[in-house]
Amino acid sequence: MLETAKSTFQLSAEGLAEVKKELARYEIKDSAIIPALYVAQKENKGFITTAVIHHLGQVMDIPVSKINEVFKFYTMFNQVPVGKHHVQVCTNISCALEGGRELTNHICHELGVKLGEVTADGRFSVSRVECLGSCGTAPMMQVNTKYYESLTPESAMNILRGMK
């Protein structure tokens, strides 16, 4: 998904200001790569493309290969498009013991997508994730930045259906 010679990306004025602030914040410039990727991902509908990496390389004056390497290492940077509401369901051990995998299957079934896919209307994408530190309130899902805990298949779908 990393292609497209045609695709372009440019940070907004606010985004650029934020990246510059991060560049000045730490002892070394490289420490600003992760924060900058967060800013750019938010401005690029939730995922990172080659165009994003190249733009960041330019504005940060850091080699593109360096930024690309960091981008690929961390799971919170999406390499493929995600829905407006990116649903991440934990299937690690504490959640698996309390029905996290059944919950994942139910959500995929109800939304009509497989893991990693985006719904036709672009509203939802679903992925399974490793432990998010919500083990005492399992099973759980994270939708964008927010945790939803102690779920049942029904309560999870009610929450998702309420999202525009």
């Binding site: 420490s31 992760i34 990727l37 960091v70 961390y74 690690n92 698996a96 995998r101």
Partner: protein, 429 residues
């Protein structure tokens, strides 16, 4: 019974904010600490017997003593990259009591002579980061951070750094790599971070709970702190209880507390009609205990080590008789394979094979010799890599296969789980 030392005021919403924190004894002891000799604080922490609460259980005072005795700038880093499956105590501590951590960190920074600290928080913890960032701002405004703190002449700056989703960044050298803007790959030790850490400068990396506990050692003194817990494992510990119990949650108890009591009193026991099958006592990397072993275990470093497992991060994962152990090992192996950073061959390849072999058994394609193959692969992964992730993947395999071998053999022979109603049993019918 719970012993609420660190968590005494966690039920108060106001404890999250500076005013409420101060109302309940906050920052009083910082003044006391700043009037002490830094070495006296290190000695007090050493005498308290405090051990790292993140997983390794290494003596905190000892770790601090490894710093070079010179004027080289040094860093203090709080490891809040809580990622060990089953663990959710640091999240609670940051959400409910950010100033407790900040106060403990300022005291610790003063002790080790650090003018700059970072709190490295896992990327998914948006809310804890928000709470912490607010609290750091409050602390700056009140003069607890910045120049000449409380007129002591001590300067200290603190910043919060968000990770981006990588279990390996919980390993202290992986965390340092990440903080330096690199892939979060661990580094060879020695040199240890205390000698060459962040930006090649001496660096102390301590867990959230460890740093918060420092405040109470300063407040009450090492002797008073040692009255909690056991002789060799002093203090209290937050245990994250999860899995098939009625009342999962974080519980602070004395070290040395009975595991049986933790599950049955604090945890409310098993669900109706269910029996305990197994317990993972210290996070997913800790070898599993059978129900019989669990009934004899006490939650201290020594007892669990003697039983061949570990206290780890204090994540107690309870598994009842409706669960299939082959299935649960499959869940864990998927995790370790996903999280291996790929640097060392035994780990990168080994976790892949362990995941493949376990899932081949789960799909009904296992051969009897695959059970011993799991053991062989796991054995070859131990002690041969830069960091402990490889061992962390190998140890569960060895304990699951040894202690629940009948379930693995049944699965291979019959091509299905011995446990009716378990996840894969449902999928196959």
């Amino acid at each position: 019974m719970e012993t609420k030392l660190l968590t005494e005021f966690y039920h108060l919403d106001e404890f999250r904010f500076l005013d409420g924190y101060k109302k309940n004894g906050g920052y009083v002891n910082l003044e006391k600490a700043l009037k002490m000799q830094p070495q006296a604080i290190i000695d007090e922490v050493k005498a308290s017997g405090l051990r790292g609460r993140g997983g390794a259980g290494f003596s905190t005072g000892m770790k601090w003593s490894f710093l070079p005795k010179n004027n080289e700038p040094r860093y203090l880093v709080c490891n809040a990259d809580e990622g060990e499956p089953g663990t959710f105590k640091d999240r609670l501590m940051m959400e409910r009591a950010p100033h407790q951590l900040i106060e403990g960190m300022i005291m610790s920074a003063f002790a080790v002579g650090s003018k700059k600290s970072y709190i490295y928080v896992r990327g998914e913890y948006y809310y804890p980061v928000e709470v912490l960032e607010q609290a750091v701002q409050e602390a700056y405004k009140a003069g607890y951070l910045g120049k000449n703190i409380l007129g002591s002449g001590f300067d200290h700056d603190m910043d919060v750094y968000r990770g981006a989703g990588a279990y390996i960044c919980g390993e202290e050298t992986g965390l340092i790599s990440s903080l330096e803007g690199q892939k979060g790959q661990p580094k060879l030790k020695p040199p240890f971070p205390a000698v060459k850490g962040y930006l090649q400068k001496p660096t102390i990396v301590n867990n959230v709970e460890t740093l918060a506990a420092v405040k109470y050692i300063i407040r009450d003194g090492a002797a008073a702190y040692k009255k909690f817990g056991t002789e060799k494992s002093p203090g209290t510990k937050l245990f994250s209880l999860s899995g098939n119990v009625r009342k999962p949650g974080n519980y602070e108890v004395n070290l040395g507390y009975s595991l049986n009591d933790l599950i049955n009193n604090e945890g409310g026991g098993m669900k109706p009609g269910r029996k305990l099958k197994a317990v993972i006592p210290g996070g997913s990397s800790a070898p599993v205990l059978t129900a019989e072993e669990a009934s004899r275990a006490t939650m201290d470093y020594e007892c669990l080590a003697q039983m061949g497992t570990m206290l780890g991060s204090g994540a107690v994962i309870v598994i009842d008789d409706s669960q299939c152990m082959v299935d649960m090992l499959g869940v864990l192996m998927h995790f370790y394979h996903h999280e291996s950073c790929g640097q060392c061959t035994p780990c990168r390849e080994g976790t892949g094979w362990l995941n493949k072999i376990t899932h081949s058994i789960l799909e009904g394609k296992g051969r009897l010799q695959d059970i011993d193959l799991l053991v062989k692969v796991a054995d070859n992964m131990k002690g041969r890599t830069i960091c402990a992730l490889s061992d962390a993947a190998a140890l569960p395999v060895l304990s699951f296969v040894t202690k629940f071998r009948d379930e693995f053999e049944f699965y291979v022979r019959e091509g299905r789980s011995k446990v009716r109603g378990s996840f894969y049993a449902q999928m196959h019918h």
